[in-house]
Structure formats: structure tokens, C-alpha cells
Amino acid sequence: MSTPDAQGTQPLIRARDLVLNFGQTQALRGISLDVYPGEVLAVMGPSGSGKSTLLHTLAGVLVPDSGTVRIGTRVLGELDQATRDDLRLRECGFVFQSGQLLPDLGALDNVTIPLLLAGVRRREAIDRGRAELDRLGVGQYGARYPAELSGGQAQRVAIARALVTRPRVLFADEPTGALDSLSAETTMVALTDLARADGTAVVLVTHDARTAAYADREIIVRDGRISAGIGVPLVDENPADAGTTAGFSAHPGFSR
């Protein structure tokens, strides 16, 4: 089992004691978690367990009621909305289940949008976008509109758009949710291969075990808590507050 070495590497994202309530609903109830540079972390759990909320909180879209998220050296809670938006735009990539491509733009134009938003010149953005589409094997579909692409092609265009800015972390929310088995496989291979090649960390939210199997390690979120994790230690401090299970610790490769 090859997992990134927790020792000696600073976590890219460090989340501590995240609590978030939506009115009466307790979405997150004290989640702590680290994401290391270049690793692929799967976040699993049943529907409504809070995994998407966790992803949005890690990305700074949602602000936790208490607890902190640190990306690199910056604490998200201390940044204003505009700076957080900018951080997401420049250092994070996003891939969703579907419906993320702008329907009125061709695949290539869609990929250039994050670059243009980051201030890259159109000419250069088109060149880089084309290269990125080629890297994902969908270079020949640059002129097609999203409606004219298959689900797998559209997802690969979306991955190209997410990776074209060379983000430090890629957030993928059920990226294979709308795909058949084979498309899901090609999509996940492309996503993890390229992210690893770029040294981009991936936070992969899924409820599909075969998709999660592309990750280096995974955590399971249940009722707003991390109920189990597999791989490297989730948190290298304060083990007492990390979970509710008790009474066993002898199992190798498995800790709270």
C-alpha cells in the first residue's frame, strides 16, 4: 500500500474541528483532516452524510461555524470573500458530476475561461487550452459544444478546464456519477494520472467504491463526522477528539 508519507511533509490543507449547521441540520460536527500535497484522498459516505458540504468547506465556499481550514499558509476564515474566490480560481480546480461546462461555448473556449479569468491573454489561453485538451485525449473536440459531447468526453473537458491553471488541489465531486463503468474508468485514470503528474492533490468526493479505489487513501463521513479512515493517519495530533469509536486499536493499517 503506497501512501504519501505523513512524516516530514507539511499538509496542503489542514482542517480542524469543522462544525457547520444549516438551521436545524448539523452538516459537519467536528471534522479534522489533512490533505497532503500530491495525494488523492477519497471522501466517502452515504448521501446526506455531509461529504459535499465538507468539500465546499475545504474549498472555502462555505464558512464553518467553528473550526479552521488552512490552505498552505493561509487560514481561509481570515480571508475576505474576494480573496477566497481568487484563491479558488488560482489554486483550486473543480470537477462536478455534470452541468459544469458553459453550454454556449465550445470545449476549447470552456477550457480557456479560467485562464482568461486569471488574466492570461486570449492567444496564450487558447494555446494552453488546446494543449490541455490534447493531454486528456479530447483535443479533436475543441470546437464542439458541450451538448455535442458524450458524458465521458464532457468530463474530460471539465478535467482539462480544472487542471489548465495547474492548481495545487483539485476538488472532484462525484466526477463519475453520471458515467457508465468504462467512461468512469477512463475518466478516473485521466484525472488521477494527470493530477499525480502535476503534483496536484485531489479531494475526491464519491459514494462509488470503484471510483474511490483510485485514491491513495480514503475517509468515510457519516452524520457529519469522520467515522473511519484508511491509509495514513488522518490527524497527527489530538487523537482523542477525532471520532467516537472506542475499544480497539490493534488493527494494522486502520486507525481513527
Binding site: M1, P46, V189, A209, R210, A212, A213, Y214, A215, D216, E218, I220, S227, A228, I230, T245, A246, G247, F248, A250, H251, G253, F254
Partner: protein
């Protein structure tokens, strides 16, 4: 399915006579294939030999042919937990054993969800290994691995569903 551990678990839940023990076992797990009396006594003898249970003359007789009552020793309790929380390697017969562990855990008021999670982690670790093995493999290997992956996934789904039904199951076990 590990009958010895299962009987040990049942005894920890409630010290019992051999006859009642078989009844208990059959009620939870014997659905299609009830346990033979001979097998029960042979297993009990082995457990006594290993120092996991104690034989005690029961005070009250329920009128059955066997008046001996059995209870679990401290070593027996440790053994039950070791068995319960050690995930099994994914294999076709896994389900029945896992089910037994879950029921025993519920009977003993142990954290059944954790043991399911542990098993699940083991399964997923295996899936990651297989997924990694698929890389650069030839098509025949890939197809074989795919088959294995789907089987493990089926197990995982069962684990997930059982996890979601634990409350229901606990009520059933308690009421029994």
C-alpha cells in the same frame, strides 16, 4: 463461518446450557442448516480445553437431558473481540462470518458499525490494490481483476446496507 467463535460469542452474551445454546445459534444463523448437537458439544469441549469457557453445574434445571451450564472466561472475552474486529480477507464465504460477527457484536453491545467499517476498509484497500494492478496489465488480467473488483464491490454494498440497517437489526436481536 467460524462456529467456535460464534458459539463463544453467544455464550458471552448469556451463559447457557448446551441445548439452549444450539437453539440460540439456530435462531440467528441456522436458517438453512441447523447445527448438529454433536458439533455443539465437540466445539464446547474444544473451547473448555483452550480455557475460553468454564463448565458449571447449573442450579436450576430446565428439565433437559444436559444440566451443564457454560460461561466465558476473561481469555474467552478477548478472543471474541479479536475475532470480531479483525476484518476478513475478501472471499466468497465472507458474508456469513461477517453477519455472525455483527449479530454477536450487537448481542454483546459492542460497536457493530466499527467492525463493519473495519471490514469495509479492508475491502477497499484490496480494491485499491487491484485497481493499481490493472495499470499496465494485459487485457485478460484486466478482465479478471474487473471481475474481482465487482465481487468486492458487491460485498461492500452489502456491508454498507447492513451498516444502514444496524438499528433495525439491533432491535431484532434484542427482541429475540
Amino acid at each position: 463461518m467460524d462456529n467456535a467463535q460464534t458459539l463463544l460469542g453467544l455464550l458471552e452474551a448469556a451463559p447457557s446450557h448446551g441445548y439452549d445454546l444450539k437453539g440460540e445459534y439456530d435462531r440467528y444463523f441456522g436458517g438453512q442448516k441447523p447445527l448438529a448437537f454433536g458439533q455443539v458439544y465437540a466445539t464446547l469441549a474444544r473451547l473448555i480445553r483452550d480455557g475460553l469457557i468454564l463448565e458449571a453445574q447449573g442450579g436450576e434445571s430446565s428439565g433437559g437431558p444436559d444440566r451443564k451450564s457454560y460461561s466465558v472466561t476473561a481469555a474467552g472475552r478477548v478472543r471474541v473481540r479479536e475475532w470480531m474486529f479483525t476484518p476478513d480477507t475478501p472471499e466468497p464465504t465472507l458474508q456469513s462470518n461477517l453477519f455472525a460477527k455483527t449479530v454477536i457484536a450487537l448481542l454483546l453491545d459492542e460497536d457493530a458499525a466499527s467492525l463493519l467499517d473495519a471490514q469495509r476498509a479492508c475491502h477497499q484497500a484490496r480494491m485499491r490494490e487491484l485497481t493499481r494492478a490493472k495499470r499496465d496489465a494485459d487485457l485478460a488480467t484486466i478482465l479478471t481483476i474487473d471481475h474481482a473488483l465487482f465481487h468486492i464491490e458487491a460485498d461492500l454494498r452489502w456491508i454498507e446496507l447492513t451498516g444502514a440497517r444496524l438499528t433495525e437489526l439491533r432491535a431484532g436481536v434484542r427482541g429475540a
